[in-house]
């Protein structure tokens, strides 16, 4: 399945682009995606935290991803 991942803040700078398009096997979990991204972009491991949002909600590692999900990589937030 093809996943599109939106990138923000320092994660966007680390990856060097604001969206990533990934071809992944079906039935991938949030944890699988995070592991894949951490391997592909080791500088992400320097961040204090890294989360995945699916359809505007924070996702859990075991959550399954689907091709039409709106996925985003969330580095440590610093609003307010």
């Amino acid at each position: 399945m093809n996943l599109t991942i939106a990138l923000f803040g320092i994660a966007r700078e680390v990856v060097g682009q604001s969206t990533l398009s990934l071809e992944m096997p079906p039935e991938q979990s949030v944890g699988d995606l995070l592991a894949h991204l951490r391997t592909s972009y080791p500088a992400l491991n320097n961040l204090r935290s890294l989360a995945i949002a699916v359809n505007n909600e924070y996702a859990q590692p075991a959550d399954r991803l689907h091709e039409r999900d709106e996925i985003a990589l969330i580095p440590p937030v610093s609003g307010g």
């Binding site: 923000f8 320092i10 969330i74 440590p76 609003g79 307010g80």
Partner: protein
């Protein structure tokens, strides 16, 4: 009223939106841009937001506050994005309740939770570089 805006925040209008004839107490938190951060002189600052999720999460925070403080009569949260200068208002939270203790507690809950969950990122610009705030341990 929950909003994310790239225009200057009208604090007086936000406070007025929080007032209500049923509520005698309004508490407001206003976050402004400081001229120093961790000992470095700040020149200006950029807020980047994941708009759709930020608005969704701001609404969630307001809903959680309303559940925890059912006597809340109004909740206003406005967050700025884009480039801000020293002294500019970055965020306003304003709530009203019949009695004052609840207004303090609910307002503090909202700003504390906002800072934990809302996907907005602050990049500080100094005379000699930039930093994404809180990114690294």
């Amino acid at each position: 009223m929950i909003a994310l805006t790239d225009q200057p925040i009208d604090v007086a209008a936000a406070l007025q939106a929080a007032e209500s004839p049923e509520a005698g107490a309004v508490n407001a938190f206003i976050g402004t841009i400081r001229n120093r951060s961790a000992g470095r002189k700040v020149v200006q600052l950029h807020y980047e937001a994941y708009d759709a999720m930020a608005l969704h999460q701001l609404r969630r925070v307001a809903e959680q506050a309303q559940e925890r403080w059912p006597m809340l009569t109004r909740i206003v949260v406005i967050h700025r994005k884009g480039t801000l200068q020293i002294g500019d208002v970055a965020v306003v939270v304003a709530v009203s309740t019949p009695h004052r203790g609840d207004s303090f507690a609910a307002c503090q809950f909202i700003i504390d939770t906002l800072k934990e969950v809302v996907p907005i990122w602050k990049k500080e610009e100094y005379e000699d570089g930039t930093t994404w705030v809180a990114a690294h341990p």
